[in-house]
Symmetry: C2
Subunit: 183 residues, 2 copies
C-alpha cells in the first residue's frame, strides 16, 4: 500500500486518541529502575516525557489551533516551552499518566467540536521560527510528536539493558538509535 501522504483529520484523531492508553499500558506500575532512568546527563526519563506531553496539551496544540482559526498569520504562536519541571514536581508517574489522559480527552473533544472542514485545514498560522504553517501541518505534527516521544521512550528503556544483552547488541536496532533530538 502507498504511503499515506495526505492528511486526514479522523485518521489523525485515531492516533491522538490512542497515545494516552498506549503510554499507560507501557508505563503504569513499572519499577522505578525503568521509569526513573534516562540515557545519561540531562536526557529525559519517563516522568519528563509524560510531563512534556502534558505541557503540550496545556499550552501548545489546541491553543495554536485556536490562534490559527481566530487570528491566522497575524498572531505568531507562542514558543513551545519544552521544560516539564514544574509539571512533574512531586507527582507520581501514575498521576502524570492520569493528567495526560484527561487533558488529551478534553482537547480531542474540543477539536471534534470545531467540526473542521477541508478549507479550515488549509488555513495558515505563523510559527515563531518556522514561518507560515497550515492547520493541517499543525495537526499532523501533533500526531508525529506523540510518535517521537513513544520512539524516544522505547529507546530510553532499551538503554537500561544496553550492557545486559551482551553480544546481542549488534542485532537490536533500538540500541543504535542516536536520538535525533531537537535542540
Amino acid at each position: 500500500m502507498e504511503d499515506l501522504t495526505r492528511f486526514n483529520l479522523q485518521e489523525a484523531i485515531a492516533v491522538l486518541g490512542r497515545t494516552a492508553a498506549t503510554l499507560d499500558a507501557l508505563l503504569r506500575g513499572l519499577p522505578d529502575s525503568w521509569v526513573r532512568s534516562n540515557e545519561g546527563n540531562d536526557t529525559w526519563n519517563a516522568f519528563v516525557i509524560v510531563g512534556h506531553l502534558i505541557v503540550g496539551e496545556r499550552t501548545d496544540w489546541m491553543p495554536r489551533v485556536r490562534i490559527i482559526l481566530e487570528r491566522g498569520e497575524a498572531r505568531p504562536f507562542d514558543p513551545f516551552d519544552r521544560s516539564a519541571e514544574s509539571e512533574i514536581q512531586g507527582k507520581s508517574l501514575e498521576q502524570l499518566l492520569d493528567e495526560f489522559a484527561r487533558l488529551r480527552r478534553e482537547n480531542l473533544a474540543a477539536l471534534q467540536a470545531l467540526n473542521l472542514q477541508p478549507d479550515d485545514l488549509a488555513r495558515r498560522g505563523r510559527h515563531p521560527a518556522l514561518g507560515a504553517v497550515t492547520l493541517a501541518e499543525l495537526l499532523a505534527t501533533w500526531v508525529v510528536h506523540d510518535l517521537t516521544h513513544l520512539h524516544q521512550l522505547s529507546r530510553v528503556m532499551a538503554h537500561q539493558y544496553r550492557d545486559a544483552v551482551g553480544p546481542w547488541n549488534v542485532y537490536l536496532g533500538v540500541l543504535k538509535c542516536a536520538g535525533h533530538s531537537a535542540p
Copy 2:
C-alpha cells in the same frame, strides 16, 4: 538515578508483561492507512511486526531458554526465522494482537514456573552466530527486542506523515531515525 546495568528477572518480566497491552492500545482499530503502510519497498508494517513477535514467542525465546537449561552450550540455538509471512496470511491485525497476547501470557507463565535462581541466569548457551551467551543475556534481549519493535512501529507510523508535517519535520526526531535494522 544510575542506569540499570544489572539484569533483574522480575524487572524484565515487568516489561515483557506489558508489551502485548501496549501494542493493543496503540494498534487495535486503527485505520488501514496506519497499519498497512510501511516505510517503502520491503520494510515492515504493523502486521509484519506483530507477526514477527508471534514467531519469536513460538520458536525463539522460551525454546532457547529451555535449550540452555537442558543442554547448555552443547546444543546451539536454531537460527531465528525472521519471516512472518505464514503467520500473518489471511489474519486481521486484531487476530494477530490476540494471538501475540495469548502466547506471551503462556510464555511468561512458563518462565515464572521455572523459578530461575541467580546461578541459572549465569548458565550458558551457544548462539549460532554470536557464540557463547548467558541465560540473563537471552532474557534481556527478549526485553530489548520488544522495545526495538515498538521503536520501529512508532517510526513506521510517523513516516506516513513525513510530508504532512511540513516545515515541522526539522523538530521531529522520529523522522530522522535511520532504522538501524539488523540484516
